[in-house]
Symmetry: C2
Subunit: 340 residues, 2 copies
DNA sequence: CCTGGCACTCGACTGTAACGAGTGCCAGTC
DNA sequence: GACTGGCACTCGTTACAGTCGAGTGCCAGG
């Protein structure tokens, strides 16, 4: 356990060099590139200890050392400070996000920005419905027995569903239904709506009971049960950077995982608050991502998260830089959404 | 130009074998696997001619032959019949598409289905706005100077935009505005709306002119100018099938192209009718897709296309099967949308 | 016009040797 | 006791030569 300061410095140097060059790093190269003030031989001894403790390993006997997942973990937890963003990056973020016209646009711009800045695969969850509240419900008559239900959330998200009514309704009926659902539901959080929706049926006029019953079913499905949480993805081409060295030769598992919205949502969307999470290699619960790292955070106005965003990349990534960028983008997006 | 029947048969055999095995195919293997009724030597002579004409080539001197883009083209145009779908595939399509609850759902299911059946990357364009007509326009007051404009198209597509008004409006004003835009625009094709939108301002009451002016600007942006055509993508992991042999080693250009929505739209969305297009390798206008082939078609009720869908894969693909699947899926989706 | 035979080409694979980066260990020094 | 220089050792990488075999082009004969 004796990890004195110099051994930690050696580990830090190894991580930094390896991330930068992609080559296993040897003792000689280390002392040349960093002011450690000791000889290669000493560094070798330190390396031996670090290897015994499981922080680094040798790909083969006559090669340099490479950090293990555990090594990266220690590096992230204790050896790195979050890099401040460069002014250029700040400008890029601002420039990219102003001028977004609607929620879709915001999300798309965000995910592309994040991919571009981190040079990795970016994932952005749409603001979660469960954590939004209802701004307005609209009922559009399609025919006498069909309505289009449109729900507008305070985050700007819009959901629609077709409702097949059991019996024809008049235009006045639709107006009544519309007024009633809006009176009862507008302003409440979607996660709190189920009891309110239940009550709707009882409070409606007798001749509307049938219509309201089906309507409330659809409402429940749309608003609550159906976890129609969506995500946007960008930068998959970045997976091909660094040849096939990362991800041990096959992008397949990574690409597969990225396409599974459910999986990604679990990964990115779990954040309840706006703290940053870093999952390194094996720490990942998803088998397909065992060769990758995930940096994610929640975003939203204040400290509550409306949704999550993050990046997926090789374990060999620039953690300080990536963490800084992910946080900064999340903060900007949070502010942007708060303005609506 | 003397391509007699046997030479064509040889070309067909080469394409089929190469697609199946991924190995360059030699004269001996050919006569063994196909009943050509001639000796390897004869086949070799035919091959020499086919090579001279540019339909096949040798990767290296002592290897078998591989079809060129031109060879595939001839194969597709003259040597293959579209395979009928297997009953299993038909069932899969039906099973996959019933139960879709809204447009998003339809598109997502379709793209995943297509990716799964063809084992390639699938692309589906959302029903084009320009070719839809307006079913309903809704104005939701957010504050006295802000409206949420929601447009519902007959395809089920919903678009929303925030409108910042130059001056406050009352609830009655909003009602008037809503009535007016719906009266004038509902039922017309989006591509025909510009003159109608122009007229809106003149026909509105004096005190609404200002509001209507900004509203009409946003309408034009949303409905027409902004080609906010969207696409859905699935099956990128399929690019990794066949090792790195296809796409000459790097998926990067392909992945990059796939992420450029504008590019993909141009590719997939150009279809005005429901005919099938096949672009093979070099025929592709997009440089990044020069190593790939694209099979696409329009879909929609009847012969007019609401949007396009297709797949992107290696030039070495099963064209007859892929074409059949793409067409079948497009037909089903067209029917499905017609039901709404 | 087709066929069998034959010489030829050239990539894939194998084995060997030289090279060198990097290590572990040890004796010596401060 | 901690650090250092030196040295033997390991082992992957590269280069080179040789063999093998799939596949070809060509030609003489049917």
């Amino acid at each position: 356990m004796g990890l004195d300061d110099r051994k930690l410095a050696v580990l830090r140097a190894i991580v930094e060099d390896y991330v930068a060059t992609q080559d296993p790093v040897g003792s000689k190269a280390l002392v040349e590139r960093h002011q450690l003030g000791v000889s290669p031989a000493t560094v070798r001894n330190d390396m031996a200890v670090l290897e015994e403790e499981g922080y680094i390993r040798q790909p083969h006997t006559s090669a340099g050392r490479v950090p293990t997942d555990r090594g990266y973990r220690l590096f992230v937890d204790r050896l790195s400070r979050v890099k401040p963003l460069s002014p250029a990056e700040r400008r890029a973020i601002e420039r990219f996000l102003v001028g977004a016209v609607d929620l879709d646009d915001v999300v798309h711009r965000t995910v592309r920005l994040l991919a571009q800045l981190t040079r990795q695969v970016a994932v952005v969850q749409y603001p979660s419905l469960a954590r939004s509240s209802v701004r307005h419900l609209e009922l559009v008559p399609i025919s006498t027995t069909r309505l289009m239900l449109v729900m507008i959330a305070d985050t700007g998200r819009v959901e629609q569903r077709l409702v097949e009514l059991p019996a024809p309704v008049s235009a006045d009926d639709v107006t009544d239904l519309r007024r009633l659902v809006n009176e009862k539901l507008v302003g409440s959080r979607l996660s709190e709506t189920p009891p309110l929706v239940q009550a709707l049926v009882e409070e409606s006029a007798p001749h509307l009971r049938g219509a309201m019953t089906t309507l409330s079913t659809v409402l429940l499905e749309t608003l609550v049960e159906r976890h129609e949480e969506r995500i946007a993805l960008a930068g998959t081409a970045n997976l091909t950077r660094g040849g096939l060295l990362d991800f041990q030769g096959s992008l397949r598992p990574i690409l597969e995982a990225l396409e599974e919205e459910v999986v990604m949502l679990k990964l990115i969307g779990e954040a309840e608050s706006t703290t940053t999470r870093v999952l390194i290699g094996d720490e990942n619960e998803i088998d397909n991502l065992r060769a990758a790292s995930v940096v994610s955070t929640g975003y939203g106005p204040g400290a509550t998260a409306l949704g999550g965003l993050g990046v997926v990349g090789p374990t060999r990534m620039d953690y300080p830089g990536t963490i800084a960028t992910v946080r900064a983008v999340a903060r900007y997006v949070g502010e942007l959404l708060a303005q609506n």
